[in-house]
């Protein structure tokens, strides 16, 4: 008996039992199920949700691998013993720091998904496959694993399952997890230490009385928000050789991922494009204010306001958020017109929050979460346009 028939017999055996969703979830990863159509269309397109989610994960893999190299590279650079970027030393640090984040993210998240599937007797839906990959990419490298586990549990249960699971949630689960980390452990999550592996540890050693130099792990946004120089070459920012959350630093790879998503028609080009336009617009407005001398050099907003408008696309998590999180179809606007407005406002607000919130200058997280909340409202007005047209037609006829 081959594997196929063995698994088929097991599936039949588990049918109707509590184990069925859990077994099927694993089974369907190996084999496309033998389900056939009944009513309605007798044929179906090749795509399913697993394939779709898989494409998004594929688009993120380069960012993950780059993030591993960069983690080690930044670590050694900060220690004062720089190594080659593409070196085993750099990758090793990244591997032992990033892989546990991935494992905890998937482990905790999928365990909760399976649990809910078994309790609520539905199939395990694929939504978490993408969330589980997003989470390790958007947290700082030195996030303690227990914090991550707590945050993932919170994000999946409160952010998603209470609304009814995949497809029903209002907020992007990955960002809910990130926001939980930020607001629950602010002293840990903000500031200039957590972004480079070793910086926190070194601080503790100094505090214990050892005579060592402190490591600065400041991100570019952090520096700019405090009115300092960015301290990095523009091309370094584009390639991603800068400190930041694990997978969000390389604008180049994110751009490639975004193009891949657009090419495969999985990601919404409308949201990505309009978000970039929104960010550039806000950047230009701020640049304009600086040029018109409304904001003087002494202002605490000067640093970020005077940043050349298009540099905003390269720093911080803007690119990553725009490509991989603003485009989450469940929490984004669902109408094509709505997507333009939704994306534009995300870009616009991201840059605004950056400038006006120096305590935590990464605006894209809050901008997306805010627009997640407003997405149904945007859609409502777009759909109302169609409804009004219908009403008007009705009135003309009956006038």
């Amino acid at each position: 008996m081959g594997l196929k028939s063995t698994l088929h017999n097991l599936k039949e055996k588990y049918k109707g039992t509590k184990m069925a969703p859990a077994f099927n979830a694993i089974h369907t990863f190996l084999y496309l199920p033998n389900e056939t159509t009944h009513n309605g269309t007798h044929i179906k397109v090749a795509d399913d949700l697993k394939r779709t989610m898989n494409i998004v994960i594929m688009a993120m893999i380069p960012c993950l691998i780059f993030g591993m190299f960069n983690a080690g590279y930044q670590h050694f650079a900060a220690l004062g013993t720089p190594v080659e970027f593409l070196s085993w030393d750099a990758f090793y640090i990244g591997l032992i720091k990033v892989l546990p984040l991935v494992i905890v993210s998937y482990g905790v998240g999928l365990a909760i998904e399976f649990l809910f599937a078994v309790i609520k007797k539905h199939e395990v839906e694929e939504g978490y496959l993408v969330t589980g990959m997003l989470v390790p990419l958007i947290v700082p490298i030195d996030t303690p694993l227990w914090m991550l586990a707590v945050a993932v549990a919170f994000g999946v249960v409160i952010g998603k399952e209470v609304f009814g699971g995949t497809g029903m949630n209002i907020l992007n689960p990955a960002l809910t997890i990130r926001a939980f980390l930020f607001f629950a452990y602010p002293t840990w999550m903000s500031g200039d230490k957590v972004w480079v592996h070793g910086a926190v540890e070194r601080d503790q050693m100094i505090a214990a009385g050892e005579k060592l130099d402190a490591i600065s792990g400041e991100t570019i946004l952090g520096s700019l928000a405090q009115g300092k120089e960015a301290g990095y070459e523009l091309m370094d920012m584009f390639y991603g050789f800068i400190p930041g959350s694990v997978g969000e630093t390389s604008t180049l790879l994110i751009l490639l991922g975004g193009l891949f998503l657009i090419f495969t028609k999985i990601g919404s080009w409308r949201i990505m494009l309009s978000s970039v336009i929104g960010a550039l617009t806000m950047g230009l407005i701020f640049n304009g204010l600086v040029n018109a001398d409304i904001i003087s050099e002494g202002s605490k907003f000067y640093g970020l306001m005077s940043t050349t408008y298009w540099h905003h696309l390269l720093i911080g998590g803007f690119a990553f958020g725009t490509v991989f999180m603003a485009t989450d179809p469940v929490t984004a606007s669902q109408t094509n017109k709505g997507k333009w407005i939704y994306g534009f406002l995300i870009g616009f607000l991201s840059i605004m929050i950056r400038v006006f919130n120096p305590a935590y200058p990464e605006g894209v997280m809050l901008a997306i979460l805010l627009m997640n909340v407003f997405a149904p409202t945007i859609d409502h007005y777009v759909v109302q346009g169609n409804v009004k047209k219908r009403m008007k037609r009705f009135k003309v006829k009956n006038a």
């Binding site: 496309l32 033998n34 044929i43 949700l49 898989n54 494409i55 199939e123 497809g167 094509n336």
Partner: protein
Amino acid sequence: MSNDIKIKKGLDIKLIGEAEKATENAIISNFCTLRPEDFHGVIPKLLVKVGAKVKAGEPVFYDKSNEAIKFVSPVSGEILEILRGEKRKILAVKLQADKEQTYQDNGKFDVNSSNADKIKAHLLASGCWPFVKQRPYDVIANPNKSPKAIFISGYASAPLAADLDYTLKGKEAELQAAINALGKLTDGQVHVSVSKNGNSPFSGLSGLTLHTVSGPHPSGNVGTLINKIDPVNKGEVVWTVNAQDLVIIGDLLLTGKFNAERIVALAGSSIKKPRYFKTKIGSEIATMVYDNGVEKDGNNRIISGNVLTGKQVKPDGCLDYYSNVITVIPEGDDYELFGWNKPIFNKISLSRALTFSWLTPNKKFDLNTNTNGEHRAFVLTGNYEEVFPLDIFPLQILKACMYNDLDEMEALGMYEVAPEDFALTEFVCVSKQPHQEIIRKGLDVMIKEIG
């Protein structure tokens, strides 16, 4: 008003097994089956008992909610069996056909000297009324209402559909008679769509407004035509008739006989010699299918209708009341190793998610009935709009149907749609949601609550 309708949104599903343009007479079916479920919403009241003899065109049952609507026997013969399901619901009326067919004579009918009421009464009594359907709700038309217009699609764009230019050839007289009659039933016009590139028998007829349509499926759907010409508003009614049924109506008016003969395409990748057959409504499918290369114990799906909207039938099943195509495709009840992530070349996809049908836009595919994935919540957005040409928000109206919000359903355009309009969105649905069923249930709720 433009007479040229060009559709951009849509999808032509190209499948192997298109019917060759050659017509055979099907083996005369010994049995004929009428299935009340073909007539959505009709509760049948039988007029005959088992063992009774009927002529072709003699009423077999009528609609409980409107006794005037009669359903007649397509053949002459003896009532063999009345199949009942739960609560004695009538599932099928099975007849044994006579060797020599006899017809009930309804007499020749002069359309020109008759008014609307007379025409209606004649169609109702002779059993031709069920061919007239209405929107809203996509059910048999209520004869007490007057439609603002009548819509007929003379162009079938569905995958492997019967080519109407071919099957209606030579039937101009019948079509003209039917259109003359229908034209008197409405204050508005009779709109007929034909293919831009075709040579339609409709193009020479009078008493109708001709529209040429082009573009991908669903350009030939009557729902698309209505939406582009004159969408249904609240309180309004439009009627639709299938082009092939006009022939039966026309025949009745000209000769007085209910002649249930119809040219049917036998198509699909499981058929060795796909071609056209002359047969009758309710005939056994087996009479056509097995002589044409379909293996008797093969693992095939036989569909009365096209692959998007047809009904699954058993080999001993029958051609349903409204279909002019029988499609046979392979069943897909097998597992596929890593089917969810490996590159796919042999299935159709709208995306490019390691699916490569976009490389071969003219390739004909051999699709089976596998769902290619499991049922999920609605997740993706924007892909229905790509194949949905109506001025309606498809995802939003589906969701409104799912949570039964009548006000929202009405506001979003539920009066304008039929389940078949959502066949393509169902086909492309990544979450494998049953769109047509959702819309049908939504329409049924509206009939019940609003009427």
